[in-house]
């Protein structure tokens, strides 16, 4: 191994780094290569000071660790530098427009972060006596009230840990309700082809058989096909509205009525609630359960892949089956936590508990802060601006990129394009990677599955017109280069911290943990 400097860290593959950048370090000015902690740290180094232990006889029952763990440490300055350098290899909303359709990458207000860190919320234990956590329970209760109001539903389950966990909660409510009616033999959940993968995965996780419902040419659920499939074996449907093609399911009420008439329940995937919040109440469309991704509609940060939070609003028919625990506000303002200890016979039909403790409190605090900041007028404006921005992109680019549902009328909060019209050898991925070189995170690629080479663009309401105009210009330029057969796009990105990565190699020979190359070599 060729160690380049005495400070101990080494670039990843020195030969190619030197060759391609011509620098001694492999760095390119502000673009800094960073080795792994296992390469730069040591097990003797620590960045913390811990008080000396009191002198007592150990009571570890003969199980004291007697082998090294292999955890490298860094001093505080090295730690700060390591993670700061890593952070700079990430794209983020804070850097620019992040048009990832269906994922809703909107600005994360910093007031939310500040409020979540108030010690009164951040430094309380979930099992403290309820009298000592009235404020924390108050946050949960207040957010629950606004989620019910905003959706026009009857109840809400706050504990699900993320959107997919919320889906599971809704499906378990449906299952419990059917069992209670003696209809447990209903084993089929209908899911449109355009659904998020979590929908069928959730239904299967809960023991259901999943059947696809086709989409119409205009990008909506085929209502006739759905009606035809309803029957005594169908437990319910899972429908995303607005759907993943960016369209409102205008027959939603008809669908709900038909499903109810056939004895089933309607689950709505609320991933796209941000398009209608404050303007449309899902409860008015006859749905029975809908999860709300707090990170999509209510601006809690995505954090590079979570944590999420997926409260589920429930109809009157399903509310009795919701999970424990939940909060209950009494006339005197005191709030109790209804859990195993206190439930008694007040919530006898609950399907049970979904997670330890009380749900994603840190996300509740942020979401409540956001709701109160926007207020009733601001939330309505959120929906309107998100829809306006998406339609502006759709109409500005439909002359350049194929827009399969442009004729279906206005889109909601996201615009969908396809790879139709790109020359042989060019695909959606080339447009996406070209956008990276233009300084953007790509749109959602190849989803939903019902559109060939789908490009799903969701600008969100927190983009200015100037930001949209620049993005439209960039996407137009990349699309035109593709149409002109510009081969350089096929190897894009050229200017990112890494070029296209070899995913085949990663999957064929999985390397999921770091192994000391010298030890690994010795082992062979």
């Amino acid at each position: 191994m060729n160690t380049i400097n005495q400070s101990g860290w080494r670039p990843t593959t020195p030969e190619t780094c030197e060759g391609s950048t011509g620098t001694f370090t492999g760095n390119r000015a502000l673009m800094l290569e960073e080795a792994l902690i296992f390469e730069i740290g040591s097990t003797d180094t620590t960045g913390v000071e811990v008080a000396e232990p009191a002198e007592v006889a150990s009571r570890l029952g003969g199980l004291a660790r007697n082998t090294p763990i292999g955890l490298p440490g860094l001093s505080e300055p090295e730690t700060v530098r390591h993670y700061t350098r890593l952070s700079r290899q990430n794209y983020a909303i804070d850097l620019g427009l992040f048009p990832l359709g269906s994922c809703t990458m909107k600005h994360n207000p910093r007031l939310n972060e500040k409020m979540a860190r108030l010690p009164g919320f951040a430094d309380v234990h979930p099992l403290q006596p309820v009298d000592t956590v009235q404020g924390a329970l108050g946050v949960i209760n207040e957010l629950a009230v606004w989620l019910i109001e905003l959706t026009g539903m009857h109840g809400v389950a706050m504990t699900p840990k993320a959107g997919a966990h919320g889906e599971l909660c809704g499906i378990l409510c449906i299952k419990a309700a059917l069992d209670a009616k003696g209809e447990g033999h209903r084993k089929v959940i209908l899911v449109p082809e355009s659904a998020h993968g979590t929908n069928p995965a959730t239904a299967a996780f809960a023991g259901y058989t999943v059947e696809d419902i086709p989409a119409t040419a205009e990008g909506r659920v085929d209502v006739e096909a759905l009606k035809a499939r309803l029957g005594p074996d169908v437990a319910g449907v899972m429908i995303t509205n607005p759907n993943t093609c960016g369209l409102f399911e205008r027959e939603m009420r008809t669908i709900s009525d038909a499903v109810h008439a056939a004895g089933g329940f309607v689950y709505c995937d609320g991933a796209n609630f941000n398009a209608i919040v404050g303007r449309v109440r899902p409860g008015d469309l006859g749905i029975d359960a809908m999860h709300i991704n707090l990170h999509k509609t209510f601006s809690t940060p995505h954090g590079g892949g979570g944590p999420g939070s997926g409260p589920v609003v429930l109809s009157k028919a399903l509310s009795p089956y919701g999970p424990l625990p939940f909060t209950e506000r009494h006339a005197d303002g005191h709030i109790t936590l209804v859990e195993e200890e206190t439930v008694g016979d007040r919530h006898p039909h609950s399907f049970g508990r979904m997670c330890a403790f009380n749900g994603q409190m840190g996300m509740f605090t942020r979401a409540l802060t956001y709701i109160l900041s926007h207020g009733a007028d601001g939330l309505r404006q959120v929906a309107e601006d998100s829809v306006l921005n998406a339609n502006y992109i759709l109409r500005s680019l439909e002359d350049t990129l194929a827009a399969p549902f442009a004729a279906s009328g206005p889109c909601m909060h996201e615009a969908i394009f396809s790879d139709d019209g790109l020359p042989e050898g060019f695909s959606t991925i080339d447009i996406a990677k070209g956008l990276i070189d233009e300084g953007y995170h790509p749109m959602t690629m190849y989803f939903p599955l019902v559109v060939h080479g789908a490009m799903l663009v969701e600008p969100t309401e927190t983009e200015s017109k100037a930001a949209l105009d620049q993005f439209i210009g960039a996407l137009r330029s990349v699309a035109e280069r593709a149409k002109a057969g510009d081969e350089s796009l096929r190897s894009a990105p050229h200017f990112a911290p890494r070029r296209r990565l070899d995913e085949t190699l990663a999957a064929r020979k999985p390397v999921l943990v770091w192994k000391d190359p010298e030890l690994a070599q010795a082992a062979e």
Binding site: E503, T504, A507, R508
Partner: protein, 122 residues
Amino acid sequence: MRYFTEDHEWVDVDGDIGTVGITDYAQGQLGDIVFVDVPEEGKTVTKGDETAVVESVKAASDVYTPVSGRVIEGNAELADNPGLVNEDADGEGWFFKLTLSDPSELEGLMDEAKYEAFVAKL
């Protein structure tokens, strides 16, 4: 004699032993294959059962057995070298061998010429 299914499996029959794989067309559609799960020896399968799994980076596909029978061998080579399916889908990249329990099932399958015509229309 080699027979084909509309799901792009092939089966080579020698006496009552069948060797099953996926077609070159199928491997081309899947792209770089990264993982293959083949059945264990002794497993009894019925025509149309999900008997093996083949995965590329972005897709997972079930392989349905074209005929019923009892598995006598899975291709152990594929565990270490799934790329063999890309390199030689028609030969070295076979998935499993089985003893046919009902050779009459072969009648419903396509021969090579028919399969080529079928693929040409896709």
